[in-house]
């Protein structure tokens, strides 16, 4: 994980994107709602900078959600998923204390994995 820099300007230029995800997993009855917020620019490759230059595509392509190591969701994304994506799912079975692991891979090969505990 990239540390936040000491100098306020150092984290410029698009390198500060792989910030931690925010994962929330809450059980009600026998269903667990899993919500994931990912920090990612999701650049389509069609947006232009103010100088007219195209910003290259940069987006999450696949992600995986597992509960106690067992995959519950396999996801694929195109560049049209909104910037800083949000996903919400429902899974039957998980209990408080179970471990939820989310990982994503983007088109440039960058990856990130975060964990949370079911509440």
């Amino acid at each position: 994980m990239r540390r936040l820099s000491a100098h306020p300007d150092e984290n410029d230029k698009g390198k500060n994107m792989a910030d931690p995800m925010k994962i929330r997993a809450t059980v009600s009855g026998d269903v667990c709602e899993i919500k994931v917020l990912m920090s990612h620019p999701m650049e389509t490759g069609q947006r232009k900078e103010s100088d007219g230059k195209l910003v290259p595509a940069h987006f999450i392509q696949t992600f995986n959600i597992a509960v106690n190591g067992k995959t519950v969701i396999d996801g694929g994304c195109g560049p049209s998923v909104s910037r800083n994506p949000v996903f919400a799912f429902k899974v039957k079975g998980p209990k408080a204390g179970d471990k939820v692991t989310v990982s994503w891979v983007d088109n440039l090969g960058e990856k990130r994995t975060d964990e949370a505990t079911v509440a």
Partner: protein, 287 residues
């Protein structure tokens, strides 16, 4: 010719001649235009927006910035390698809870009224040793960059979730900030003759589909105060009220207000005090 008229006008403006006083008693309503304004009843589109507001708020990426801000607040940073945990945001050194809803306020150590962003910057300078020039160089979020101050403000604001807005009006400088803010709010100038009040001085108006809060009224001032700092869907960027004021002046076709300047703090005091008494729900999501 123009010059003469301006002086002539000044004469009228200052005059207390009886005929003018009489004329002033039967004022023409300023907004009276060619015909009656379009009905401002809540239209279907607005109702539909509101239906989806709850989901958008539930899924608000502002949480990502809140988490980042918390990290920044607690880390030892800057040339002095200290955290911000001794920063006094007006409710005691290190106290974050409730600080957002009680600023702008007067700070004796700075002998100034400061809004939250200005105060956090002040702490970054005085406690952590950051240089002022570096803090104000690139103050606003862009697609490649979120200033640390933006994340910090988001974190601090989130710690006032569910609390009542209670911006003090005790110190003479707090009172002056409010009154000057009110005047800046009304000041018309620029090529389009716009003031803040041109768009934000009446209830129930819209620009395009966008509802315009009337910042002079209690209920609407809260609508404007609420949801900032906000995650803006346009561009997907986190912004603070400092940015909101800046971009309003851009749209107003004014020159640029200084970041963390008195002018902006005064406006934020006006807005914030008008929202006093309402419950703040934390960082929001904006169009």
């Amino acid at each position: 010719m123009r010059r003469i008229t301006a002086l002539c006008v000044a004469a009228f403006a200052a005059a207390s001649m009886p005929q003018l006083a009489a004329a002033a008693k039967t004022p023409k309503k300023a907004a009276t235009a060619a015909s009656a304004p379009a009905p401002e009843a809540k239209d279907a589109a607005t109702a539909d927006f509101e239906k989806f507001r709850a989901i958008l708020e539930e899924d608000n990426p502002a949480e990502l910035f809140e988490a980042k801000g918390e990290d920044l607040w607690k880390q030892k940073r800057g040339p002095n390698k200290v955290s911000l945990e001794q920063c006094d945001l007006g409710v005691g050194p290190g106290v974050v809870k409730g600080a957002y809803v009680q600023t702008p306020r007067y700070f004796a150590d700075a002998d100034q009224v400061m809004d939250i962003e200005r105060r956090i910057a002040w702490c970054m300078e005085k406690l952590q040793g950051f240089k002022h020039e570096d803090l104000v160089k690139k103050p606003f979020s862009n697609p490649n960059y979120t200033p640390d101050l933006v994340s910090l403000v988001t974190y601090v604001a989130a710690q006032s979730r569910g609390m009542k807005v209670a911006i003090p009006q005790k110190h003479p400088k707090e009172i002056a900030a409010y009154k000057i803010g009110a005047e800046i709010f009304k000041y018309r100038a620029g090529p389009y003759d716009f003031a803040c009040a041109t768009c934000h001085g009446e209830d129930g108006r819209r620009i395009r589909m966008q509802q315009l809060p009337n910042l002079a009224s209690k209920r609407d001032a809260m609508r404007a105060y609420a949801g900032w700092p906000g995650y803006r869907m346009t561009g997907g960027l986190m912004h603070t009220l400092q940015w909101r004021m800046n971009d309003c002046f851009r749209q107003q076709r004014f020159p640029e207000p200084g970041y963390l300047s008195d002018a902006v703090t005064d406006l934020l005091t006006y807005l914030g005090v008008n929202a006093n008494g309402n419950i703040y729900k934390g960082p929001g999501i904006k169009r």
